[in-house]
């Protein structure tokens, strides 16, 4: 298979090198144009994100193409050869296909299962099509990659659960409260993580955000950023009864939220479920609060536990995904191999048809003696005989090609039928 893939990713190359490469390619350069000027490169795709740079190509001469693509990366990264060798990986044939499928399915991503890479790959492919850098092989390969990514996404839970603490908070809120539509979120104190979690909650349907802080000015400032309502600390008890989700992250030394406070609030809110998230260290919420019925208290370690569990789950799912990718690589290889016998099949048919044409011409004199209809019938009959005779060898060739064993047959057919060149 003449597909090659040369690239580097976050695992093989440090940020500074990836950075240099991405920058130089951003400055009005046309990597595809440049790649296609290389004679050994017949089709090319250039994918560049903050975590990876990959060049996929259909090569005429594999070795030559690999060397030229390496040189291309070397030039643009301002790297020396030794550095480059350390960072680059080169895959050929099925390995290149597998790598591309893994990248598309987000198995090779820094955060496994994150969905952006597929979009980035689609953008790269769009560029590639617009600049007419793709041909039959890359078109098929990329579409196959997109299909594989979709299969992985639907058949495994690789993108299933939150792998950041703030998302884990949203996930838990949904597990406890059900729909977040119209829920009220109370931020006690403010910090980056609690703001982020609040934003995620808003995006997932939460209706209202209240920000409580010791200094009203700070509360107002944070509330302004996330369209919340600021309140002073003295209103905390009162607001506790309105909130469904409380995220606490003050710098206080003692407990800010205590069981009696929560019990009172709960009574006033008729025991509606209350989800308390304590991401402060030292803790803001008295751990005993979590024992109250209908109150669920998660601290930073609990949320991290959720994240760890989710990461483990993604890794389990990744094994399933590798299986799917294996299948798809095989399927692509089958298609590719049938491609190898296509020229032989075409010349076989051409030869048969030229014989037919020649013979009909030779017999022209007596054919003209027949009526119009009979003449047609004879032509049809001859064409049918040819098709019937060719049918079995052609199907046989295609079948053999799937298991990559067609070459001896191709050679034999070319020799026996004296197809041009005699050799494949």
């Amino acid at each position: 298979m003449n597909v090659i893939l040369v690239g580097m990713n976050h695992k093989t190359a440090p940020l500074e090198i990836r950075e240099r490469l991405t920058l130089s390619c951003g400055e009005g350069l046309h990597p595809l144009e440049e790649l296609l000027r290389v004679e050994a490169v017949q089709e090319a795709l250039y994918l560049s994100t903050c975590n990876r740079v990959e060049v996929v190509a259909r090569a005429g001469d594999v070795e030559e193409a690999v060397a030229r693509v390496k040189a291309f990366i070397l030039r643009h990264g301002n790297l020396d050869a030794a550095e480059l060798e350390k960072c680059l990986y080169v895959h050929c044939g099925s390995d290149a296909v597998r790598h591309l499928f893994r990248v598309a399915s987000s198995l090779d991503s820094m955060v496994m299962g994150e969905p952006q890479i597929l979009g980035q790959m689609k953008d790269a492919y769009r560029d590639c099509v617009e600049q007419k850098a793709s041909g039959i092989i890359l078109n098929k390969l990329l579409h196959h990659a997109f299909r594989t990514a979709k299969r992985v996404r639907t058949e495994t839970a690789i993108a299933g659960n939150a792998v950041s603490v703030s998302y884990a908070a949203v996930e838990m809120a949904k597990k406890i409260l059900g729909s977040l539509e119209g829920r009220t979120v109370l931020l006690v104190g403010a910090g980056e993580m609690s703001e982020l979690a609040a934003r995620h909650l808003l995006k997932n349907g939460a209706g209202r955000i209240i920000v409580a802080n010791r200094t009203y000015a700070r509360a107002a400032q944070v509330a302004g950023e996330i369209q919340g309502t600021p309140v002073g600390f003295e209103q905390l008890e009162e607001k506790l009864q309105e909130a469904d989700i409380v995220i606490s992250s003050t710098g206080a030394a003692g407990y800010v939220i205590t069981p009696p406070m929560v019990r009172t609030a709960l009574r006033r809110r008729k025991n509606r479920l209350l989800f308390l998230i304590d991401i402060a260290v030292p803790r803001d919420v008295d751990p005993d609060t979590g024992r109250i019925e209908n109150v669920f208290l998660f601290n930073i370690d609990d949320l991290q536990g959720v994240v760890d569990e989710n990461v483990r789950n993604r890794h389990r799912e990744a094994e399933k995904a590798e299986g799917i990718i294996g299948e798809e690589v095989l399927r692509f290889a089958e298609w590719y191999n049938t491609l190898e016998v296509v020229p032989t099949i075409v010349s076989l048919r051409e030869k048969a048809e030229s014989i037919l044409r020649a013979e009909l011409e030779r017999s022209g004199s007596w054919l003209r003696g027949l009526g119009e209809e009979d003449r047609k019938n004879v032509e049809i009959l001859a064409a049918q005989i040819i098709n019937k005779i060719l049918h079995d060898p052609v199907t046989g060739l295609k079948e053999e090609s799937r298991s990559n064993g067609a070459m001896p047959y191709v050679a034999a057919i070319r020799k026996l039928f004296r197809l041009e060149g005699g050799e494949p």
């Binding site: 659960n161 838990m172 597990k175 406890i176 409260l177 059900g178 008729k270 025991n271 479920l273 019925e293």
Partner: protein, 271 residues
Amino acid sequence: MDTLFFKAALAAYFAATAGYLVSLVARRVVMARIATWILGLAVALHTVHFLEMCAERGLNVAVNLFEAVSFFAWIVSSAYLVFQLRTRTRVLGAIVAPFAVMLMMLASLGAEGTLAIPDALQGRLVPVHVTLSIIGEGLFALASLAGVMYCIQDRQIRRRRMGGLARYLPSLGDLDSINHAGLLWGFPLLTLGLIAGSVWAKTAWGGSQWVTDPKTLWSFAVWCFYAFLLHQRLAIGWKGRRIAVLSIAALVVLISAFIGVNFLSGVHRFT
């Protein structure tokens, strides 16, 4: 009575149960979604069975105990299908479907049982009493089944077992709202059913002997239990685990009233 559709429904309930169990083991919500469609098919077949019955003998769909149990299964399943449209509780079917299968197996023991209504139970209000009561009790049963799953999920979350089952079970809020809806709709229906029964007993039998009949007493106990639950829920604001636990206890009382006590009462019973 042709039992073709009954048998088909029983088979579909079985298939739905199998689907839910597979989804529990494989932890895939997709499987539960398929199982929910199969449960829908089961309910549809079961409905055809009841329509056939109605065409034959009017709205008398629960003449003997076995038919009553079958009707009970139909109510629980169809109410669940309606409620799960509003909440994301597809996996709750993993409790509802096996429950329906158990009832249906019990019902199939007498699928061709007696159809004679005793003389003492002839009257227009009797089918009204029976139908409304079973619908009310079916909704209660559904509320309780949601309570069972609530307790499981509550335990998982409190023990921070977020990996396996908890990821897959419905959210506490959704389960609680099914419990709420079941109590809220079941209560007026059962009340009307009991009133219909009392009015009829008063006029047909007269006297007060029927009041002390064991089944009447048990039914009244069930009614009181659920009335208490609904009151606590709406007026006092009991929610979540406490109501869930009490709902499970109420289900035990309900089932004993429905099936067990049937054999204690002389007249007031399904044959």
